[in-house]
Amino acid sequence: MELLLQQLANGLVIGSTYAVVAIGFALAFTVLRVINFAHPDIFMVGMFAGLLPATQWPALGFGIALLAGAIGACLVGFALERTVIAPLRGRDVLMTLIGTLGVAIALQNGMALIAGPDPVAYPALLPRLFIDIGPVALTLRQIVNFVICLGLLGLVSLYVRRTSYGRATRAIAERPDVAAAFGVNVSRICQFTILLASAMAGVAAVSVGMLYGSASAFVGLLYGLKAFICMLVAGNRYFEGVMVVGLAIGVIEALVTGYLSSSLRDAAAFFVLIGVLYFRPNGLFGSYAT
């Protein structure tokens, strides 16, 4: 029972990170009809952008690192949107897929050139502290990571449901032509959507770097794959569905690690994907027709 609760907690912590990266994927895919393969590497750039102030000026603390992560990721997201996504949007989905994949490769290898191909140590921005919640023991960093990611998810949910721009975002997702004909500046909202997804990924990345104590130029791959699976499993109809699936995949992985074998962990998400798509090809919560 204790193991179960502990693994559930561990799973929610990592799952919340998957959910944040997945929601960035889902926003780009649903709103722009773009599979943004550079998104996981924008996450990676965010991680290194936060590393810079954290190692140079550790006294500035965690908040500045988060901010730097957001800004760094946003800058790359902005450049990507201007140079690759905007010119290719509306064309065949393969075009942006290949374009963003190219950017992804460039970002990975560019960062490997700057920071080296091996993982680098991430400074301990928060004290090493265990906190007991009933029978479950979590580190302060785990809790902070979970709170940050959940906060980001909550903000996105509020944004798409409660604000005028957010409503327009969902309107574009369902019917871009009609949205445009009702005064929505589709290009501008698409641009904002990429910036939002990038900023979120950047913040989450700094938090994850701190959680595991390391950053690597190739860290995006793992998160990208998991996040992509989350989006496919959930379907793109409800952003909240993607969030829930992100958390669920984290929990399933933690349970597999705890009860079966940690070497099976990374395969679990794929089994979930195959199982769900076999029975519900449009995802658990349905998808928009494209």
Binding site: R167, R170, A181, F182
Partner: protein, 240 residues
């Protein structure tokens, strides 16, 4: 009087296939004009081109005599005071009725004004007030058409483009929709409607165009055009 909308020699193709071929038409402020045509005649293509959603191969589209619509993006065309009731309603089905109406007024900067206009729509369509919190996809066809019309009206347009508003509705509902069209027009909003239901459409319209395979083959006063043989043959079930 300057035409509110003036279309000259409009030609639109899908790839090599011409859909609209040299269409000219106009609509004066406050008028109600109808384009009659069968499926595939090019009606929806005209509407989408007017809104900048399709690029024409040739032709001119002017608003208020001077504004060249072909240089504008759809959202800019909307800001001039053009609203759309699309074919098959095309509501945002995963959004609530209220959100659909708010999005209809996305370009209205004064949010208090928008809320007032939505309130007016609820006065006019009490059913929508009852269902304001439901997702639009769960409504009946008639209710959805009310949302589609209300969504277009909250921006207080000068020109309303209506694409087959009677399509897929129960006969009783069809009559209601056409009397609503007349009522909206009597508030001073110019309407360009495309329809297949010629009998009803000619009763409410001032002027009618007959569109066949992308060309306008007849045009005239709605009250007179119904007597023409070509119109009778195609739409009114006479002499066929």
């Amino acid at each position: 009087m300057t035409a509110l909308l003036e279309v000259k020699g409009l030609a639109v193709s899908y790839g090599a296939v011409p859909a609209v071929d040299g269409v000219s038409l106009e609509i004066l402020p406050g008028e109600l004009r109808v384009i009659l045509g069968a499926n595939g005649a090019g009606k929806t293509t005209i509407i989408k081109t007017l809104f900048g959603l399709l690029r024409p191969r040739a032709g001119e589209i002017r608003f208020n005599g001077e504004i060249d619509l072909l240089r504008l993006k759809p959202h800019q065309i909307h800001m001039l005071g053009v609203a759309w009731v699309p074919e098959g309603r095309q509501l945002w089905n995963t959004l609530t009725v209220m959100d659909n109406l708010r999005l209809g007024g996305f370009a209205v900067d004064d949010k208090a004004l928008l809320e007032r206009r939505i309130e007016e729509m609820f006065e006019r369509f009490p059913r929508l007030r009852e269902r304001h919190d439901q997702v639009a996809g769960s409504l009946s066809g008639g209710e959805q058409q009310m949302v589609a019309i209300a969504r277009a009206l909250v921006s207080a347009p000068k020109l309303l483009l209506m694409d087959e508003p009677s399509l897929g509705l129960a006969p009783l509902m069809v009559r209601d929709v056409f009397s609503l069209v007349r009522e909206i027009n009597s508030m001073g909003i110019a309407i360009l409607m495309v329809e297949q239901n010629a009998r009803q459409a000619l009763k409410v319209a001032h002027w009618a165009y007959l569109l066949e395979t992308g060309r306008i083959v007849e045009s005239g006063l709605a009250a007179e055009i119904g007597n023409k043989e070509s119109v009778q043959a195609v739409f009114l079930g006479g002499h066929a």
